[in-house]
């Protein structure tokens, strides 16, 4: 049969349990505004597996992260931030290739060939001739402007790379250090590791928004972080730094892990978006511009040489001829395109052997605009350029749409996760009342026991 004083021991435990529960409630409320905090719940149970022991028998602390949701959020962050970055960078590409106001490259091209069409009407007129040279000059400047704009954008993106790599290295170092602290905290005071784990999750998500990673938690409670194709960034309490090294042939910042180049494998997160634009979209655009410029230079010069100028001489080079740096490569054509002809009389508007007023060659030069010189001899220069604009527009559109979609999913997942783990102040208020009442009841019970034992003592001693 239990004695009255045994009951007092129970009361002590009960009071401690309610006090513990109140302290956890207080911690939850204090962290209500902390987005990475996981609410902690006090469970009263005899099931020893129910959670972290509080030190008081039958009282356990529960704080469960949902790894499925955490993983989903990290993945959506990688996609969303990658597309967001690409979408913003593409906005600058769009305005470079097609300015909102003023004339763009397409207009400059049709203006150039159009000037030959006008010249065909008054081939002997010095004003018409000068007009051809003026619009040729304008065309070269437009090529230079667009090309330089894209190169500037590419270079400015590249300058961001070292800074981003430093951010990544700082994050992986912190994660590795938390990998070390978490088991230690768990051993010294169970439960104290929970906020550290929340902190580590926050860092993993920051890292995810910068670069595509995979991660998983090991049995020991540390997190292993790898790049998308498997190179380790964090193993237990060691982090492996990314390094930058100039790439070949373009001296942009390549990214290396343990001495091997992984630049091409980084395809999500802000850094992935940046690399895609820097190494994919912009070089494609530059190549298209180079191809257009090289084709125009070659075809215009070829036709120009077949005609006669105002003095009856065979036409010379209209543009400065372009020499391919390597077979099949037109690199640099758009950047270097220059008008070779200085004297308007030198424009070969007449066909060979005819009088200076003849316009046959001018007509053929004008018709180059419609020649199917591109895309396997199936598109004219402007059709090709329109296709180029369409490609950039679609890419920008799809980056924006993808960013929107993944941010939407991200928001949904965060809501789901918050539904499980975020603090709800109403609940905490109810908990305070609950634990306070239980505390009061225990205290009253103690009081009753004391009254009972007093009465017993008085009875015996009286």
């Amino acid at each position: 049969m239990p004695s009255i004083l045994d009951g007092l021991d129970n009361v002590e435990q009960a009071l401690a349990a309610q006090q513990f529960a109140l302290s956890i409630t207080q911690r939850n409320i204090a962290n209500a505004g902390n987005p990475s905090y996981t609410r902690q719940e006090v469970i009263f149970t005899n099931d020893e597996e129910a959670g972290i022991s509080s030190g008081i028998p039958g009282v356990y602390l529960q704080s469960r992260r949902n790894q499925y949701l955490d993983g989903g959020i990290s993945r959506q962050l990688q996609y969303a931030k990658g597309y967001e970055f690409a979408s913003e960078a593409l906005r600058q590409i769009e305005s470079a290739v097609k300015p909102e106001s003023g004339t763009g490259l397409a207009e400059a091209i049709s203006e150039f060939f159009g000037s030959f069409n006008r010249l065909s009407s008054t081939p002997e007129d010095p004003v018409s001739r000068q007009q051809v040279l003026t619009s040729a000059k304008a065309l070269t400047l437009e090529f230079h402007r667009v090309y330089a704009g894209l190169q500037r954008l590419q270079a400015s993106e590249d300058t961001m790379v070292p800074q981003i790599v430093r951010e990544i290295n700082a994050l992986t170092a912190e994660i590795a250090s938390l990998n070390e602290k978490i088991p230690a905290a768990k051993a010294s005071q169970p439960g104290s590791e929970l906020t550290l784990r929340d902190e580590r999750q926050k860092l993993l998500e920051e890292l995810s928004s910068i670069v595509g990673i995979d991660y998983f938690e090991t049995e020991s409670g540390s997190v292993t972080v790898t790049t998308g194709q498997g190179g380790a960034l964090v193993l237990d309490n060691t982090s492996y730094e990314l390094e930058t090294a100039p790439m070949v042939p373009d001296p942009f910042n390549g990214i290396q892990l343990n001495g091997s180049d992984i630049t091409a494998f980084l395809n999500s997160g802000k850094l992935g978006g940046l690399i895609q634009v820097r190494d994919g979209t912009i070089p494609d655009c530059l190549k298209t511009l180079d191809d257009i410029a090289a084709t125009i230079i070659e075809r215009v010069n070829q036709q120009h040489a077949l005609g006669n100028d105002l003095d009856g001489l065979a036409g010379g080079d209209f543009f400065v001829p372009f020499a391919q740096p390597a077979p099949g490569s037109n690199q640099g054509a758009a950047r270097n395109i220059q008008v070779a002809l200085a004297d308007p009389r030198g424009i070969a508007a007449a066909s060979a052997g005819s009088g200076p007023g003849n316009n046959e060659n001018a007509k053929i030069m004008a018709a180059i605009e419609d020649e199917k010189l591109f895309y396997g001899a199936s598109e004219s220069v402007l059709q090709f350029f329109s296709g180029f604009l369409f490609t950039i527009g679609s890419e920008a559109r799809s980056a924006e749409d993808n960013a929107l979609t993944h941010n939407g999913v991200l928001g949904q997942l965060m809501n789901q996760r918050d539904a499980e783990i975020a603090v709800n102040l109403d609940e905490e208020a109810v908990n305070i009342i609950k634990f306070q009442k239980a505390y009061e009841a225990s205290a009253r019970y103690a009081n009753t026991l004391i009254t009972l034992s007093d009465e017993l003592i008085n009875l015996l001693g009286g």
Binding site: G355, P356, G357, A419, A422, V423, N424, A429
Partner: protein, 292 residues
């Protein structure tokens, strides 16, 4: 579902930001009048706009070419009209010289008058427009007709430019000088020879060539007139194409202002409602406010 304060805030913020984005877009449409402000707003629309711009520029070129051609053709026509009058004058002098009632000295006076009229024709045959000798073929920088004695020779060629004035349509900008003038100067030379020889028979013979000269000149002028007429039709059809291109362009890029304004109004109302609802959410009392 368990709803926490953080969920309510997140949803509120995301709704607010998408409404703000919508109102920003509507405002931009209203202020710029365009529904396309960057390639991504309509990639296919932009590609079509770019080809429409090229077509518009082509129409500008055609219009300018048609204007030039019209000018050259009209200059040629009025010169030939003048030539026609001058030849009539020469024919009248010739007919007077052919009558047996006048003497050698009178014929010499008439021959002088014919020469002066012939010189005016020569000067018209060397007409220039915008620095071009219009009857010189492609040898535009040199006066095509020269005279030695009473013999006029043509140094021009028959290379008359055709220019594009519409897709697939070329108009010839003039006529060849020798086609227009060779017969004229030949007949005049014959006439003068007869007059100088004081030979009414020869004069009569030379005059016999004049009906052909008139009809030849008439044919040349008809050709020119036909081209001028064609150009007028083309100019008006270019104008029509220009308008239709402008309409196509507007359909692609212009914002429907009424629609944008209604959309802006709708979004603003939604935004106000969201803010007032959100305001009460943010200030919402939780249980702590009540239990104190």
């Amino acid at each position: 579902m368990r709803v926490t304060q953080s969920i309510a805030y997140r949803n509120f913020l995301s709704d607010l930001s998408s409404l703000n984005e919508g109102s920003n877009k509507a405002l931009r449409e209203i202020s710029s009048g365009k529904k396309i402000s960057s390639l991504r707003d309509s990639p296919s629309g932009c590609a079509r706009l770019s080809s429409i711009n090229a077509l518009e520029s082509r129409i500008d070129q055609y219009t300018s070419n048609a204007g030039d051609s019209s000018y050259f053709l009209q200059t040629a026509d009025s010169a030939l009209n003048e030539v026609n009058n001058l030849i009539t004058g020469i024919h009248t002098r010739g007919s007077q010289a052919a009558t047996g009632t006048i003497g050698a000295s009178e014929r010499a006076v008439l021959a002088g008058e014919v020469r002066s009229l012939r010189d005016q024709i020569l000067s018209l045959a060397n007409s220039q427009a915008r620095g071009r000798y219009i009857f010189a073929g492609s040898l535009v920088s040199v006066a095509p007709f020269a005279i030695a004695g009473d013999t006029v020779t043509c140094a021009g060629n028959d290379d008359v430019n055709g220019v594009s004035v519409q897709q697939g349509v070329e108009v010839v900008q003039g006529v060849s000088g020798s086609e227009a003038f060779d017969a004229v100067f030949d007949a005049i030379e014959d006439l003068l020879a007869g007059m100088d020889a004081n030979d009414p028979g020869a004069i009569e013979n030379a005059l016999g060539r004049f009906p052909q000269v008139f009809s030849g000149l008439g044919q040349v002028r008809m050709k020119i007139g036909a081209n001028i007429g064609l150009l007028q039709n083309i100019q008006s059809s270019l104008e029509t194409s220009r308008i239709s291109l402008a309409e196509q362009k507007s359909a692609i890029e212009d914002a429907d202002l009424a629609e944008s304004v209604v959309e802006l109004k709708r979004i603003q109302t939604a935004l106000e409602a969201a803010i007032s609802a959100g305001g009460s959410l943010l200030g919402k009392r939780n249980l702590f406010d009540i239990i104190g």
